[in-house]
């Protein structure tokens, strides 16, 4: 992965962390990584649920909509990762949800957020 793509991804995750904080959530973890993969953001939502957030950031629609790259299989893998996170942090059985976010950064530096909560 090029550093350009890395910084794009990091920027998107930062944007979403701010977005969640502004809505009263607490960020519990970010870029939690185990062998099976990585969770971009873990947040405690104002509703009391734990949200596992996958952030996809793109600079254009040239390769399709950012959320299109999350297939059903990928979403299921996210769920396995979420269960692993809950087990690791001794809060298995807590209500949780899988959220997916598409961030589109336009050339003038502005960005658009598409937040899809509880996609599974």
């Amino acid at each position: 992965m090029t550093s350009h793509n890395k910084s794009t991804g990091a920027f998107g995750e930062k944007v979403i962390a701010d977005f969640l904080l502004a809505r009263g959530a607490t960020i519990l973890d970010h870029n939690w990584r185990i062998k099976e993969g990585e969770i971009d953001l873990v947040a405690l939502m104002p509703t009391g649920r734990i949200a596992f957030v996958e952030v996809k950031t793109r600079r254009s629609y040239a390769f399709g909509h950012p959320l299109e790259s999350i297939t059903h299989d990928k979403a299921l893998r996210l769920q396995r990762l979420a269960l692993a996170w809950l087990a690791t942090h001794k809060c298995f059985g807590r209500e949780y949800q899988i959220d997916c976010v598409g961030v589109l950064i336009s050339e003038d530096g502005k960005h658009a957020i598409e937040y899809r909560a509880n996609v599974l």
Partner: protein, 506 residues
Amino acid sequence: MTLGRSFGVALVGLDGHVINVEADIADGLPGYTLLGLPDAALTESRDRVRSALVNSQEAWPNKKVTVSLSPAWLPKSGSGFDLPIAIALLAASSELPTEHIEGVLFLGELGLDGNLRSIRGVLPSLIAAYKAGIRTAVVPWVNRLEAQLMSEMNIIAMESLTQLLRWIRLGERDVPQELPLTTQELEEEFDFSDVAGQAQARKAAEISAVGGHHLLLIGPPGAGKTMIAQRLPGILPALSREEALEVTAIHSVAGGLTQRSALSSQAPFVSPHHTATRVAMVGGGAHVIRPGACSLAHRGVLFIDEAPECGPGVLDSLRQPLESGSITIARSVGSVSYPAQFILVLAANPCPCGKFTGRGRNCTCTSVQVRRYLSRLSGPLMDRIDLRVHVDSLSRVELTETELGESSKTIQNRVREARAIAAARFKDLPWRTNAEIPSRALRTSFLPERAGMNFLHAALDREQITARGLHKVMRTSWSIADLAGHSVPILEDVELAYGLREGMPL
């Protein structure tokens, strides 16, 4: 609105079912689910619809899309649902005025560029929709002629999705819609005046056209069997509007309207090659049960050249449609009935080498081969053939004859008059041609003159004719009488009918 609706039609044989197409757009990961037993071509509609929408400058909803085709239990097939799916999707994702969507039937396959492509079965789909109370239909421009036959409905022909959406949004139509509905003149491609000589075969063809009798032509190669068969549709009376609609509907389902004009009133002529399979002959198919040659020949002529060369069972598969005038095909997806009322014309060589004619001097076949050859035409099938004639090689006299034979037009006029006489006789009865008279009615109300019956009874006593054969001869004699203008078949008519059926030893 996140829910959109439109109407499409699913065809099972010639019967259509109006299908409710519903599209729901929900939050969630982008995805597309198509419900309602779609087949492969219909599952692929997702990618066609998507590209068509994008290339028509419409937005594709990057959300969780669920499309349902109900009733869900009915297996659906084909690409005709592209358009109703696209409309339902757009109604769900954007603000489309419902005025031109509610109660409107949409038919059409979408190209990736958003153009509307032709589909099979437009006419039967429209008939089904009309029966279900739908009065307006959007069809592809290419299918407009066929669609216009359904004159009771308001037909909107469109070339592309963009055009259609302009009509739905703004009510603007940039294509003239009301087309003059003209019936095509009969094509004069084949005319009976081209046939030299062959007086007996010509007469037999004429009788066949009057009464709907099946015909067998036996003769050496090059004698004109095919020529005569090809000219038979030209002397059949033009199809009535109802008959033409019926024929067009069958050809539309089969996808063969490219060869046949939608408005043609000429009786169809279908001549499958003798290598045709049983399924090709009677119809069939795994997902879509398509009509076979015998249904394509409905209200016309089914001509099978080199009939003894047909595979085993192929000709005999025609026995049921010959008897009942329709064919029912059962497959795992369901069972379908197609009409199949046709005049069967078989042509055969007299022997494998084809030269066993006249004195048979050049024939190289053994006598066993000759006997076996025609016995490949099974007894039960031959029993249903009323007219069996020899088409012999032309003599010098016949070939040098400069005067042309009668034209198809002249013969057709005679046939039409004779059919009118028969129709008047059958005014209050359910059948229309002489070949259809049931044997019971034949014995009670449609007896030829006493002298004719005496002749037939004598033949029966001598075991020269079976009971079924006797009835067949009686039917043919009515057609001959109608042509000759006799109110009841006289002895001469019966003798001619007998000669045409039994005159040739098989």
